[in-house]
């Protein structure tokens, strides 16, 4: 059973952040595996969008926000992200 929910993943990154590219890679990988066009992602450069980052309560990068909420203040592993997304999308 699925719902019509959309999920926007925001990967919060900063320059010189060693793990940010890995976090982006992880997100791309999970989206590809899910093969669900209801999931989108964008990279948010924290310095360029600092007001938004502060409003999320961000303290460090990388981190993931889902639909405008800081769900993963530290990057999840693949299984955790996948599970969270499937729950949000209503995939059982």
């Amino acid at each position: 059973m699925t719902s019509n929910a959309l999920v926007e993943i925001e990967v919060l990154t900063g320059s010189g952040c060693g793990h940010c590219q890995s976090a982006l890679g992880l997100v791309r990988e999970v989206i590809e595996e899910l093969g669900d066009d209801r999931v989108h992602y964008r990279e948010v450069n924290v310095v360029a969008e600092i007001d938004y980052a502060v409003s999320l309560g961000l303290l460090r990068t990388p981190a993931l926000a889902l639909n405008g909420e800081l769900v993963f203040p530290v990057p999840p592993n693949k299984a955790e992200l996948r599970q969270t997304l499937t729950e949000m999308l209503g995939i059982h």
Binding site: S15, G16, C17, G18, V47, I50, V54, G57, L59, R60
Partner: protein, 134 residues
């Protein structure tokens, strides 16, 4: 009771300023020793601390005088003074909100700086054209 020299040292207000506050009635006439040396009571010190805090936030002496009246007798303060106190309360709350955002921003930037292997995001944020906060 504290002598003027002690108050100067504790509150970082000059002796001239303390005498001026008394002259214009911002604090009531301070008691004196038999030799004429000013002695400040705990209540005087409390008023002086309030004056200092209010000045730091940017209130003028006239406003502070009204706020002190309100502070002395909040129940019977005149409508005008109550209104000023309310208006200043709003200003203080706005000020706190601004400071809180600034604190969160600096917290984030210092966190990024610590974790960054190349360059410092704090410096980058100075260069951001659309960032006018700094």
């Amino acid at each position: 009771m504290q002598r003027i020299g002690q108050v100067v040292a504790t509150l970082c207000i000059s002796a001239d300023t303390l005498r001026y506050y008394e002259k214009i009635g911002l604090i009531p006439e301070v008691s004196r020793t038999s030799g004429g040396v000013r002695l400040y009571s705990e209540q005087d010190l409390s008023r002086l601390r309030f004056i200092r805090r209010a000045q730091k936030i940017g209130f003028c002496l006239e406003e502070i005088a009204s706020l002190l009246t309100f502070r002395e007798d909040p129940q019977n303060a005149k409508a005008q003074v109550r209104q000023l106190a309310h208006q200043k309360l709003t200003e203080v709350e706005d000020h706190i909100a601004e400071l809180s955002t600034l604190r969160d921003e600096l917290r984030l930037l210092t966190g990024l700086c610590r974790a960054s292997s190349e360059g410092c995001p704090i410096l980058e944020s100075f260069d951001e054209g659309n960032n006018t906060r700094f």
